[in-house]
Amino acid sequence: MNTQTLQPRHQVFSPARVSAIASNTLLELIRQKVFYFLLIFALVLIGASFFMGFLRPELQFQVMKDVSLGAMSVFTWLLAVLATAMLLPKDIEERTLYTILAKPVPRFEYLLGKLLGVLLLLAISTVVMSGMFAATLYLKEQITIAGAIQESKLTDPAQIAEVVRNIKASTFSWSLVPGVIAIYLKAAIFAALTLLISTFASSWIFTIVVSVAVYLIGHLVPVAREYAESGGGAWFARDLCGLIARLFPDLQLFNLVDDIVAGNAIATGIFLQTVGLGCLYVAVYTWLAYLMFAKKEL
Protein backbone atom coordinates (compact mmCIF):
# COMPACT_ATOMS: atom_id res chain seq x y z
CA MET A 1 0.00 0.00 0.00
CA ASN A 2 1.34 3.39 -1.01
CA THR A 3 1.91 5.49 2.09
CA GLN A 4 2.33 8.73 0.20
CA THR A 5 -0.51 11.19 0.84
CA LEU A 6 -2.67 11.21 -2.27
CA GLN A 7 -5.55 13.59 -1.69
CA PRO A 8 -5.30 17.31 -2.44
CA ARG A 9 -6.42 20.06 -0.04
CA HIS A 10 -10.10 20.09 0.79
CA GLN A 11 -12.13 22.25 -1.59
CA VAL A 12 -15.17 23.95 -0.14
CA PHE A 13 -17.05 23.38 -3.42
CA SER A 14 -15.81 20.81 -5.88
CA PRO A 15 -17.37 20.43 -9.34
CA ALA A 16 -15.50 17.11 -9.60
CA ARG A 17 -17.34 15.69 -6.58
CA VAL A 18 -20.68 16.91 -7.88
CA SER A 19 -19.89 15.45 -11.28
CA ALA A 20 -18.92 12.10 -9.72
CA ILE A 21 -22.25 11.89 -7.89
CA ALA A 22 -24.20 13.08 -10.95
CA SER A 23 -22.62 10.56 -13.31
CA ASN A 24 -23.06 7.83 -10.71
CA THR A 25 -26.75 8.70 -10.39
CA LEU A 26 -27.16 8.66 -14.17
CA LEU A 27 -25.39 5.31 -14.41
CA GLU A 28 -27.61 3.88 -11.65
CA LEU A 29 -30.77 4.94 -13.46
CA ILE A 30 -29.53 3.69 -16.84
CA ARG A 31 -28.46 0.32 -15.43
CA GLN A 32 -31.89 0.03 -13.82
CA LYS A 33 -33.12 -0.01 -17.40
CA VAL A 34 -35.36 3.05 -17.15
CA PHE A 35 -34.88 3.57 -20.88
CA TYR A 36 -37.19 0.66 -21.60
CA PHE A 37 -40.00 3.20 -21.44
CA LEU A 38 -38.70 4.45 -24.78
CA LEU A 39 -40.05 1.24 -26.29
CA ILE A 40 -43.51 2.21 -25.12
CA PHE A 41 -42.97 5.68 -26.59
CA ALA A 42 -41.99 4.06 -29.90
CA LEU A 43 -45.22 2.07 -29.88
CA VAL A 44 -47.20 5.25 -29.22
CA LEU A 45 -45.45 6.93 -32.16
CA ILE A 46 -46.22 4.06 -34.48
CA GLY A 47 -49.84 3.93 -33.37
CA ALA A 48 -50.34 7.67 -33.77
CA SER A 49 -48.64 7.73 -37.16
CA PHE A 50 -49.86 4.77 -39.05
CA PHE A 51 -53.33 3.94 -37.78
CA MET A 52 -55.08 7.17 -38.67
CA GLY A 53 -55.20 6.66 -42.43
CA PHE A 54 -58.93 7.33 -42.58
CA LEU A 55 -58.40 10.99 -41.63
CA ARG A 56 -57.40 13.73 -44.05
CA PRO A 57 -53.61 14.34 -44.12
CA GLU A 58 -53.58 17.60 -42.12
CA LEU A 59 -55.58 15.94 -39.37
CA GLN A 60 -53.33 12.86 -39.41
CA PHE A 61 -50.27 15.03 -38.77
CA GLN A 62 -52.18 16.99 -36.15
CA VAL A 63 -53.07 13.79 -34.27
CA MET A 64 -49.54 12.49 -34.61
CA LYS A 65 -47.99 15.64 -33.18
CA ASP A 66 -50.54 15.98 -30.36
CA VAL A 67 -50.26 12.35 -29.25
CA SER A 68 -46.46 12.14 -29.55
CA LEU A 69 -45.78 15.40 -27.75
CA GLY A 70 -48.42 14.57 -25.14
CA ALA A 71 -46.74 11.21 -24.54
CA MET A 72 -43.35 12.93 -24.37
CA SER A 73 -44.72 15.33 -21.78
CA VAL A 74 -46.18 12.63 -19.56
CA PHE A 75 -43.17 10.32 -19.87
CA THR A 76 -40.64 13.00 -18.94
CA TRP A 77 -42.74 14.15 -16.01
CA LEU A 78 -43.26 10.58 -14.80
CA LEU A 79 -39.58 9.79 -15.21
CA ALA A 80 -38.64 12.91 -13.24
CA VAL A 81 -40.90 12.02 -10.32
CA LEU A 82 -40.21 8.28 -10.18
CA ALA A 83 -36.44 8.56 -10.73
CA THR A 84 -36.07 11.23 -8.04
CA ALA A 85 -38.51 9.88 -5.44
CA MET A 86 -36.36 6.85 -4.62
CA LEU A 87 -32.91 8.48 -4.71
CA LEU A 88 -32.62 9.65 -1.12
CA PRO A 89 -34.70 6.96 0.62
CA LYS A 90 -32.73 4.20 -1.10
CA ASP A 91 -29.38 5.67 -0.15
CA ILE A 92 -30.50 6.13 3.45
CA GLU A 93 -32.04 2.67 3.78
CA GLU A 94 -29.02 0.91 2.29
CA ARG A 95 -26.63 3.09 4.32
CA THR A 96 -24.80 4.09 1.15
CA LEU A 97 -25.47 7.69 2.11
CA TYR A 98 -23.38 7.25 5.27
CA THR A 99 -20.35 6.12 3.30
CA ILE A 100 -20.69 9.12 0.96
CA LEU A 101 -21.21 11.75 3.66
CA ALA A 102 -18.41 10.20 5.73
CA LYS A 103 -16.13 11.30 2.88
CA PRO A 104 -15.33 15.02 2.59
CA VAL A 105 -18.57 15.64 0.66
CA PRO A 106 -20.81 18.52 1.76
CA ARG A 107 -24.49 17.67 1.86
CA PHE A 108 -25.23 20.34 -0.72
CA GLU A 109 -22.92 18.72 -3.25
CA TYR A 110 -24.56 15.36 -2.66
CA LEU A 111 -28.03 16.81 -3.33
CA LEU A 112 -26.86 18.81 -6.32
CA GLY A 113 -25.10 15.79 -7.78
CA LYS A 114 -28.21 13.63 -7.40
CA LEU A 115 -30.39 16.26 -9.04
CA LEU A 116 -27.97 16.85 -11.90
CA GLY A 117 -27.89 13.11 -12.56
CA VAL A 118 -31.67 13.07 -12.95
CA LEU A 119 -31.63 16.24 -15.08
CA LEU A 120 -29.08 14.59 -17.37
CA LEU A 121 -31.28 11.52 -17.65
CA LEU A 122 -34.26 13.71 -18.54
CA ALA A 123 -32.22 15.61 -21.11
CA ILE A 124 -31.06 12.41 -22.80
CA SER A 125 -34.61 11.02 -22.78
CA THR A 126 -36.03 14.23 -24.25
CA VAL A 127 -33.41 14.34 -27.00
CA VAL A 128 -33.93 10.68 -27.90
CA MET A 129 -37.72 11.00 -27.91
CA SER A 130 -37.49 14.17 -30.00
CA GLY A 131 -35.24 12.38 -32.47
CA MET A 132 -37.64 9.44 -32.70
CA PHE A 133 -40.55 11.83 -33.16
CA ALA A 134 -38.78 13.87 -35.85
CA ALA A 135 -37.74 10.72 -37.72
CA THR A 136 -41.26 9.30 -37.65
CA LEU A 137 -42.72 12.63 -38.73
CA TYR A 138 -40.28 12.79 -41.65
CA LEU A 139 -41.06 9.23 -42.69
CA LYS A 140 -44.79 9.88 -42.54
CA GLU A 141 -44.32 13.12 -44.47
CA GLN A 142 -42.45 11.37 -47.27
CA ILE A 143 -45.04 8.58 -47.48
CA THR A 144 -47.87 11.12 -47.58
CA ILE A 145 -46.16 13.22 -50.28
CA ALA A 146 -45.53 10.17 -52.46
CA GLY A 147 -49.11 9.00 -52.00
CA ALA A 148 -50.60 12.44 -52.71
CA ILE A 149 -48.59 12.91 -55.91
CA GLN A 150 -49.50 9.43 -57.11
CA GLU A 151 -53.20 9.88 -56.34
CA SER A 152 -53.45 13.31 -57.97
CA LYS A 153 -51.51 12.15 -61.08
CA LEU A 154 -49.84 15.55 -61.37
CA THR A 155 -47.03 16.11 -63.81
CA ASP A 156 -46.55 19.88 -63.68
CA PRO A 157 -43.53 20.55 -61.39
CA ALA A 158 -45.11 23.75 -60.04
CA GLN A 159 -48.24 21.88 -59.01
CA ILE A 160 -46.23 19.06 -57.48
CA ALA A 161 -44.20 21.65 -55.54
CA GLU A 162 -47.48 23.16 -54.29
CA VAL A 163 -48.67 19.74 -53.04
CA VAL A 164 -45.32 19.15 -51.32
CA ARG A 165 -45.40 22.64 -49.78
CA ASN A 166 -48.90 22.15 -48.38
CA ILE A 167 -48.04 18.81 -46.82
CA LYS A 168 -44.76 20.07 -45.36
CA ALA A 169 -46.61 23.00 -43.81
CA SER A 170 -48.44 20.47 -41.61
CA THR A 171 -45.40 18.55 -40.45
CA PHE A 172 -42.20 19.64 -38.78
CA SER A 173 -41.63 23.24 -37.80
CA TRP A 174 -38.73 24.66 -35.80
CA SER A 175 -41.26 26.39 -33.57
CA LEU A 176 -41.81 22.96 -31.96
CA VAL A 177 -38.35 23.15 -30.36
CA PRO A 178 -39.28 25.74 -27.68
CA GLY A 179 -42.31 23.57 -26.87
CA VAL A 180 -40.08 20.55 -26.30
CA ILE A 181 -37.69 22.61 -24.16
CA ALA A 182 -40.70 23.71 -22.08
CA ILE A 183 -41.64 20.03 -21.61
CA TYR A 184 -38.12 19.38 -20.31
CA LEU A 185 -38.29 22.40 -18.00
CA LYS A 186 -41.55 21.20 -16.47
CA ALA A 187 -39.97 17.81 -15.78
CA ALA A 188 -36.88 19.51 -14.31
CA ILE A 189 -39.08 21.52 -11.95
CA PHE A 190 -40.70 18.30 -10.79
CA ALA A 191 -37.35 16.61 -10.29
CA ALA A 192 -36.29 19.43 -7.95
CA LEU A 193 -39.67 19.49 -6.23
CA THR A 194 -39.68 15.71 -5.73
CA LEU A 195 -36.18 15.93 -4.28
CA LEU A 196 -37.44 18.57 -1.82
CA ILE A 197 -40.40 16.43 -0.77
CA SER A 198 -38.21 13.34 -0.38
CA THR A 199 -36.02 15.14 2.17
CA PHE A 200 -38.85 15.10 4.70
CA ALA A 201 -41.27 12.45 3.42
CA SER A 202 -41.69 9.36 5.52
CA SER A 203 -42.10 7.10 2.47
CA TRP A 204 -41.60 7.29 -1.29
CA ILE A 205 -45.33 6.73 -1.84
CA PHE A 206 -46.02 9.96 0.03
CA THR A 207 -43.47 11.72 -2.18
CA ILE A 208 -45.13 10.51 -5.36
CA VAL A 209 -48.66 11.30 -4.16
CA VAL A 210 -47.68 14.86 -3.21
CA SER A 211 -45.89 15.34 -6.56
CA VAL A 212 -49.00 14.19 -8.43
CA ALA A 213 -51.15 16.54 -6.35
CA VAL A 214 -48.85 19.46 -7.14
CA TYR A 215 -49.03 18.48 -10.83
CA LEU A 216 -52.81 18.72 -10.86
CA ILE A 217 -53.05 21.85 -8.72
CA GLY A 218 -50.24 23.55 -10.63
CA HIS A 219 -52.30 23.37 -13.82
CA LEU A 220 -55.15 25.16 -12.06
CA VAL A 221 -53.01 28.09 -10.88
CA PRO A 222 -54.04 30.45 -13.72
CA VAL A 223 -57.71 29.84 -12.87
CA ALA A 224 -57.00 30.45 -9.17
CA ARG A 225 -55.00 33.61 -9.94
CA GLU A 226 -57.73 34.99 -12.15
CA TYR A 227 -60.36 34.33 -9.50
CA ALA A 228 -58.22 35.85 -6.74
CA GLU A 229 -57.82 39.05 -8.77
CA SER A 230 -61.40 39.18 -10.01
CA GLY A 231 -62.81 40.98 -6.95
CA GLY A 232 -65.98 38.88 -7.06
CA GLY A 233 -67.08 35.97 -4.87
CA ALA A 234 -66.55 35.33 -1.15
CA TRP A 235 -63.39 36.78 0.42
CA PHE A 236 -62.21 33.47 1.83
CA ALA A 237 -62.53 31.81 -1.58
CA ARG A 238 -60.53 34.64 -3.17
CA ASP A 239 -57.89 34.43 -0.45
CA LEU A 240 -57.63 30.67 -0.77
CA CYS A 241 -57.20 31.00 -4.53
CA GLY A 242 -54.57 33.68 -3.95
CA LEU A 243 -52.72 31.34 -1.61
CA ILE A 244 -52.86 28.51 -4.13
CA ALA A 245 -51.60 30.79 -6.89
CA ARG A 246 -48.64 31.79 -4.72
CA LEU A 247 -47.76 28.44 -3.21
CA PHE A 248 -47.91 26.32 -6.37
CA PRO A 249 -46.03 26.75 -9.66
CA ASP A 250 -48.04 27.88 -12.69
CA LEU A 251 -47.49 24.81 -14.83
CA GLN A 252 -49.64 26.11 -17.69
CA LEU A 253 -46.77 28.46 -18.53
CA PHE A 254 -44.78 25.38 -19.58
CA ASN A 255 -47.60 23.89 -21.68
CA LEU A 256 -46.66 25.48 -24.97
CA VAL A 257 -46.82 22.52 -27.36
CA ASP A 258 -50.62 22.48 -27.65
CA ASP A 259 -50.70 25.97 -29.08
CA ILE A 260 -47.45 25.55 -31.02
CA VAL A 261 -48.85 22.46 -32.75
CA ALA A 262 -51.93 24.54 -33.57
CA GLY A 263 -49.67 26.96 -35.43
CA ASN A 264 -48.52 29.44 -32.77
CA ALA A 265 -44.93 30.49 -32.42
CA ILE A 266 -43.37 31.99 -29.31
CA ALA A 267 -41.14 35.05 -29.51
CA THR A 268 -37.57 34.56 -28.24
CA GLY A 269 -37.88 37.22 -25.52
CA ILE A 270 -41.00 35.67 -23.98
CA PHE A 271 -39.53 32.19 -24.30
CA LEU A 272 -36.35 33.21 -22.49
CA GLN A 273 -38.44 34.69 -19.68
CA THR A 274 -40.28 31.37 -19.39
CA VAL A 275 -36.99 29.46 -19.32
CA GLY A 276 -35.70 31.85 -16.67
CA LEU A 277 -38.77 31.20 -14.54
CA GLY A 278 -38.31 27.45 -14.89
CA CYS A 279 -34.67 27.70 -13.85
CA LEU A 280 -35.68 29.88 -10.90
CA TYR A 281 -38.10 27.21 -9.72
CA VAL A 282 -35.44 24.51 -9.99
CA ALA A 283 -32.96 26.66 -8.06
CA VAL A 284 -35.42 27.56 -5.29
CA TYR A 285 -36.69 24.01 -4.81
CA THR A 286 -33.11 22.70 -4.72
CA TRP A 287 -32.10 25.30 -2.16
CA LEU A 288 -35.14 24.43 -0.02
CA ALA A 289 -34.26 20.74 -0.32
CA TYR A 290 -30.81 21.61 1.01
CA LEU A 291 -32.39 23.55 3.91
CA MET A 292 -34.33 20.44 4.87
CA PHE A 293 -31.44 18.05 4.32
CA ALA A 294 -28.63 20.11 5.91
CA LYS A 295 -29.45 19.19 9.48
CA LYS A 296 -31.42 16.03 8.81
CA GLU A 297 -30.62 13.36 11.35
CA LEU A 298 -29.50 10.31 9.38
Binding site: M1, Q7, H10, N24, L27, E94, T99, V105, E297
Partner: protein, 279 residues
Amino acid sequence: MPDPAISIRNLTKVYPIPFKRERVTAVHDLTLSVEPGQVYGLLGPNGSGKSTTMKVLLGLVPASSGSTQIFGRDSALVASHEEVGYLPENPYFYKYLTGEETLRFYGKLCGLSGSALRDRARDLLKLVGLENAADRRLGGYSKGMLQRIGLAQALVQEPRLLVLDEPTAGVDPAGSREIRDLILEFKSRGMTILLCSHLLGQVQEICDRVGILHNGRLVREGALESLIAIENQTQLIFENASPDLLARFEAEAAACGARLVEKTKPHTTLERFFLEVTK
Protein backbone atom coordinates in the same frame (compact mmCIF):
# COMPACT_ATOMS: atom_id res chain seq x y z
CA MET B 1 1.98 16.76 21.82
CA PRO B 2 -0.06 15.36 18.90
CA ASP B 3 -3.84 15.76 18.99
CA PRO B 4 -5.80 12.66 19.90
CA ALA B 5 -7.24 10.85 16.90
CA ILE B 6 -10.66 11.07 18.51
CA SER B 7 -11.62 13.41 21.29
CA ILE B 8 -15.16 13.26 22.62
CA ARG B 9 -16.03 15.64 25.46
CA ASN B 10 -19.28 15.67 27.36
CA LEU B 11 -21.21 14.46 24.37
CA THR B 12 -24.94 14.29 24.89
CA LYS B 13 -27.47 13.38 22.25
CA VAL B 14 -31.17 13.69 22.91
CA TYR B 15 -33.85 12.62 20.44
CA PRO B 16 -37.30 14.16 20.80
CA ILE B 17 -40.20 11.78 20.20
CA PRO B 18 -42.54 13.25 17.55
CA PHE B 19 -45.95 14.37 18.82
CA LYS B 20 -45.00 13.58 22.42
CA ARG B 21 -43.34 15.62 25.13
CA GLU B 22 -40.90 12.83 26.01
CA ARG B 23 -37.35 12.68 24.85
CA VAL B 24 -34.86 9.83 24.55
CA THR B 25 -31.29 10.42 25.69
CA ALA B 26 -29.24 8.16 23.46
CA VAL B 27 -25.86 9.33 24.77
CA HIS B 28 -25.35 11.00 28.13
CA ASP B 29 -22.28 13.12 28.91
CA LEU B 30 -19.80 10.85 27.15
CA THR B 31 -16.12 11.64 27.38
CA LEU B 32 -13.44 9.48 25.82
CA SER B 33 -10.40 9.85 23.67
CA VAL B 34 -8.48 7.60 21.32
CA GLU B 35 -4.79 8.21 20.79
CA PRO B 36 -3.22 7.95 17.34
CA GLY B 37 -2.24 4.39 16.46
CA GLN B 38 -4.62 2.77 18.95
CA VAL B 39 -7.31 0.25 18.18
CA TYR B 40 -10.28 1.15 20.32
CA GLY B 41 -13.26 -1.13 20.79
CA LEU B 42 -16.58 0.61 21.50
CA LEU B 43 -18.86 -2.00 23.00
CA GLY B 44 -22.31 -2.17 24.43
CA PRO B 45 -25.64 -3.94 24.11
CA ASN B 46 -28.16 -2.91 21.46
CA GLY B 47 -29.48 0.56 22.13
CA SER B 48 -26.55 1.56 24.29
CA GLY B 49 -25.58 4.55 22.11
CA LYS B 50 -22.66 3.13 20.10
CA SER B 51 -24.15 3.89 16.69
CA THR B 52 -25.28 7.34 17.81
CA THR B 53 -21.78 8.14 19.07
CA MET B 54 -20.29 7.04 15.74
CA LYS B 55 -22.84 9.05 13.75
CA VAL B 56 -22.13 12.19 15.76
CA LEU B 57 -18.42 11.64 15.27
CA LEU B 58 -18.94 11.33 11.52
CA GLY B 59 -21.20 14.38 11.29
CA LEU B 60 -24.23 12.36 10.24
CA VAL B 61 -26.15 13.53 13.29
CA PRO B 62 -25.64 16.78 15.24
CA ALA B 63 -24.78 16.60 18.94
CA SER B 64 -27.25 18.08 21.43
CA SER B 65 -24.28 19.27 23.50
CA GLY B 66 -20.60 18.58 23.91
CA SER B 67 -17.89 18.34 21.29
CA THR B 68 -16.29 15.76 19.07
CA GLN B 69 -12.97 16.20 17.33
CA ILE B 70 -10.92 14.23 14.85
CA PHE B 71 -7.18 14.97 15.00
CA GLY B 72 -7.95 18.29 16.61
CA ARG B 73 -10.60 19.39 14.07
CA ASP B 74 -14.30 19.70 14.83
CA SER B 75 -15.77 16.50 13.40
CA ALA B 76 -18.90 18.36 12.25
CA LEU B 77 -16.75 20.11 9.64
CA VAL B 78 -16.70 18.37 6.28
CA ALA B 79 -12.94 18.94 5.98
CA SER B 80 -12.31 16.65 8.97
CA HIS B 81 -13.68 13.73 6.93
CA GLU B 82 -10.52 13.70 4.85
CA GLU B 83 -8.85 11.85 7.69
CA VAL B 84 -11.62 9.31 8.21
CA GLY B 85 -12.64 6.12 6.50
CA TYR B 86 -15.96 4.61 7.52
CA LEU B 87 -17.50 1.19 7.06
CA PRO B 88 -21.12 1.11 8.30
CA GLU B 89 -22.93 -1.99 9.49
CA ASN B 90 -24.28 -4.18 6.66
CA PRO B 91 -23.65 -1.72 3.84
CA TYR B 92 -25.09 -2.34 0.40
CA PHE B 93 -23.27 0.19 -1.79
CA TYR B 94 -24.46 0.53 -5.39
CA LYS B 95 -25.33 -2.92 -6.73
CA TYR B 96 -25.02 -1.87 -10.36
CA LEU B 97 -21.38 -0.74 -9.99
CA THR B 98 -18.45 -3.11 -10.34
CA GLY B 99 -15.84 -3.37 -7.61
CA GLU B 100 -13.41 -1.13 -9.47
CA GLU B 101 -16.13 1.41 -10.35
CA THR B 102 -17.12 1.58 -6.70
CA LEU B 103 -13.61 2.41 -5.57
CA ARG B 104 -13.17 4.94 -8.35
CA PHE B 105 -16.44 6.61 -7.35
CA TYR B 106 -15.36 6.97 -3.73
CA GLY B 107 -11.89 8.04 -4.81
CA LYS B 108 -13.37 10.87 -6.87
CA LEU B 109 -15.34 12.00 -3.84
CA CYS B 110 -12.00 12.31 -2.01
CA GLY B 111 -10.45 14.37 -4.78
CA LEU B 112 -8.53 11.62 -6.53
CA SER B 113 -8.47 11.45 -10.31
CA GLY B 114 -6.71 10.13 -13.36
CA SER B 115 -3.97 7.52 -13.12
CA ALA B 116 -3.49 8.09 -9.38
CA LEU B 117 -7.11 7.05 -8.84
CA ARG B 118 -6.86 4.10 -11.18
CA ASP B 119 -3.71 2.81 -9.51
CA ARG B 120 -5.14 3.33 -6.05
CA ALA B 121 -8.28 1.37 -6.90
CA ARG B 122 -6.23 -1.52 -8.22
CA ASP B 123 -3.93 -1.52 -5.20
CA LEU B 124 -6.85 -1.61 -2.81
CA LEU B 125 -8.59 -4.39 -4.70
CA LYS B 126 -5.39 -6.42 -4.43
CA LEU B 127 -5.04 -5.59 -0.75
CA VAL B 128 -8.52 -6.85 0.11
CA GLY B 129 -8.21 -9.85 -2.21
CA LEU B 130 -10.82 -8.80 -4.77
CA GLU B 131 -8.69 -8.26 -7.86
CA ASN B 132 -10.43 -11.16 -9.61
CA ALA B 133 -13.84 -9.69 -8.89
CA ALA B 134 -12.97 -6.14 -9.95
CA ASP B 135 -15.21 -6.23 -13.02
CA ARG B 136 -18.12 -7.98 -11.35
CA ARG B 137 -21.10 -5.94 -10.18
CA LEU B 138 -21.56 -5.64 -6.42
CA GLY B 139 -25.01 -7.19 -6.78
CA GLY B 140 -23.17 -10.49 -7.35
CA TYR B 141 -20.83 -10.19 -4.37
CA SER B 142 -21.11 -12.37 -1.28
CA LYS B 143 -21.43 -10.85 2.17
CA GLY B 144 -17.73 -11.29 2.83
CA MET B 145 -16.84 -9.64 -0.49
CA LEU B 146 -19.11 -6.71 0.29
CA GLN B 147 -17.42 -6.21 3.63
CA ARG B 148 -14.04 -6.29 1.92
CA ILE B 149 -15.02 -3.79 -0.75
CA GLY B 150 -16.41 -1.72 2.11
CA LEU B 151 -13.04 -1.79 3.80
CA ALA B 152 -11.38 -0.84 0.53
CA GLN B 153 -13.63 2.23 -0.01
CA ALA B 154 -12.96 3.27 3.60
CA LEU B 155 -9.24 3.25 2.80
CA VAL B 156 -9.38 4.95 -0.57
CA GLN B 157 -8.06 8.31 0.58
CA GLU B 158 -5.50 6.77 3.00
CA PRO B 159 -7.24 7.99 6.14
CA ARG B 160 -5.47 8.18 9.46
CA LEU B 161 -8.60 7.03 11.27
CA LEU B 162 -10.77 4.04 10.39
CA VAL B 163 -14.24 3.68 11.92
CA LEU B 164 -15.62 0.17 11.53
CA ASP B 165 -19.12 -0.83 12.60
CA GLU B 166 -19.50 -4.60 12.85
CA PRO B 167 -16.96 -5.29 10.08
CA THR B 168 -17.37 -9.07 10.32
CA ALA B 169 -21.11 -9.34 10.97
CA GLY B 170 -22.68 -12.10 8.91
CA VAL B 171 -19.36 -13.18 7.40
CA ASP B 172 -18.21 -16.81 7.53
CA PRO B 173 -15.23 -17.71 9.78
CA ALA B 174 -12.69 -17.77 6.94
CA GLY B 175 -13.80 -14.37 5.66
CA SER B 176 -13.99 -13.05 9.17
CA ARG B 177 -10.40 -14.13 9.80
CA GLU B 178 -9.25 -12.41 6.61
CA ILE B 179 -10.92 -9.17 7.64
CA ARG B 180 -9.46 -9.44 11.10
CA ASP B 181 -6.00 -9.99 9.62
CA LEU B 182 -6.45 -6.89 7.47
CA ILE B 183 -7.40 -4.84 10.50
CA LEU B 184 -4.30 -6.06 12.29
CA GLU B 185 -2.21 -5.07 9.30
CA PHE B 186 -3.72 -1.56 9.33
CA LYS B 187 -2.93 -1.42 13.00
CA SER B 188 0.68 -2.38 12.35
CA ARG B 189 0.95 0.53 9.88
CA GLY B 190 -0.01 2.97 12.57
CA MET B 191 -3.64 3.58 11.61
CA THR B 192 -6.05 4.48 14.38
CA ILE B 193 -9.11 2.26 14.43
CA LEU B 194 -12.44 2.66 16.20
CA LEU B 195 -14.21 -0.67 16.17
CA CYS B 196 -17.75 -1.56 17.15
CA SER B 197 -18.52 -5.22 17.36
CA HIS B 198 -20.65 -7.71 19.24
CA LEU B 199 -18.05 -10.41 18.59
CA LEU B 200 -16.18 -9.99 21.83
CA GLY B 201 -13.69 -12.70 21.00
CA GLN B 202 -12.52 -10.70 17.99
CA VAL B 203 -12.47 -7.46 19.96
CA GLN B 204 -10.31 -9.16 22.50
CA GLU B 205 -7.84 -10.22 19.80
CA ILE B 206 -7.57 -6.86 18.09
CA CYS B 207 -8.20 -3.99 20.47
CA ASP B 208 -5.81 -2.14 22.75
CA ARG B 209 -8.49 -0.28 24.66
CA VAL B 210 -12.22 -0.73 25.03
CA GLY B 211 -15.08 1.41 26.26
CA ILE B 212 -18.35 -0.15 27.30
CA LEU B 213 -21.54 1.84 26.87
CA HIS B 214 -24.75 1.00 28.66
CA ASN B 215 -27.95 3.08 28.47
CA GLY B 216 -26.01 5.90 26.89
CA ARG B 217 -23.32 6.10 29.54
CA LEU B 218 -19.72 4.97 29.54
CA VAL B 219 -19.68 2.42 32.35
CA ARG B 220 -16.13 1.05 31.96
CA GLU B 221 -13.18 2.11 29.92
CA GLY B 222 -9.51 1.28 29.78
CA ALA B 223 -6.73 -0.91 28.39
CA LEU B 224 -8.08 -4.32 27.48
CA GLU B 225 -5.57 -6.37 29.37
CA SER B 226 -6.12 -4.52 32.62
CA LEU B 227 -9.90 -4.64 32.28
CA ILE B 228 -10.23 -8.37 31.82
CA ALA B 229 -7.40 -9.62 34.01
CA ILE B 230 -8.59 -11.24 37.26
CA GLU B 231 -6.20 -9.59 39.62
CA ASN B 232 -6.05 -12.10 42.40
CA GLN B 233 -5.66 -15.16 40.14
CA THR B 234 -2.67 -16.56 38.23
CA GLN B 235 -2.85 -18.99 35.34
CA LEU B 236 -0.13 -21.52 34.68
CA ILE B 237 -0.35 -23.98 31.79
CA PHE B 238 1.84 -27.12 31.89
CA GLU B 239 2.56 -29.49 29.08
CA ASN B 240 3.38 -33.15 29.82
CA ALA B 241 3.10 -32.62 33.61
CA SER B 242 2.71 -35.87 35.54
CA PRO B 243 -0.09 -36.34 38.07
CA ASP B 244 2.61 -36.49 40.82
CA LEU B 245 3.94 -33.07 39.88
CA LEU B 246 0.44 -31.63 39.83
CA ALA B 247 -0.32 -33.09 43.28
CA ARG B 248 2.87 -31.55 44.70
CA PHE B 249 1.91 -28.12 43.29
CA GLU B 250 -1.55 -28.36 44.82
CA ALA B 251 -0.14 -29.26 48.22
CA GLU B 252 2.38 -26.43 48.12
CA ALA B 253 -0.31 -23.93 47.15
CA ALA B 254 -2.57 -25.08 50.00
CA ALA B 255 0.31 -24.80 52.46
CA CYS B 256 0.87 -21.15 51.41
CA GLY B 257 -2.79 -20.27 51.88
CA ALA B 258 -3.68 -20.16 48.18
CA ARG B 259 -6.85 -21.83 46.92
CA LEU B 260 -6.86 -23.98 43.79
CA VAL B 261 -9.80 -22.54 41.88
CA GLU B 262 -9.79 -24.73 38.79
CA LYS B 263 -7.81 -27.57 37.28
CA THR B 264 -8.84 -28.24 33.65
CA LYS B 265 -7.42 -28.95 30.24
CA PRO B 266 -6.97 -25.74 28.21
CA HIS B 267 -9.04 -25.50 25.04
CA THR B 268 -8.27 -24.37 21.59
CA THR B 269 -10.83 -21.99 20.11
CA LEU B 270 -13.70 -23.25 18.05
CA GLU B 271 -12.51 -20.93 15.28
CA ARG B 272 -9.03 -22.47 15.16
CA PHE B 273 -10.56 -25.95 15.31
CA PHE B 274 -12.99 -25.08 12.48
CA LEU B 275 -10.23 -23.66 10.29
CA GLU B 276 -8.04 -26.71 10.91
CA VAL B 277 -10.81 -29.04 9.94
CA THR B 278 -11.98 -27.08 6.88
CA LYS B 279 -8.65 -26.09 5.32
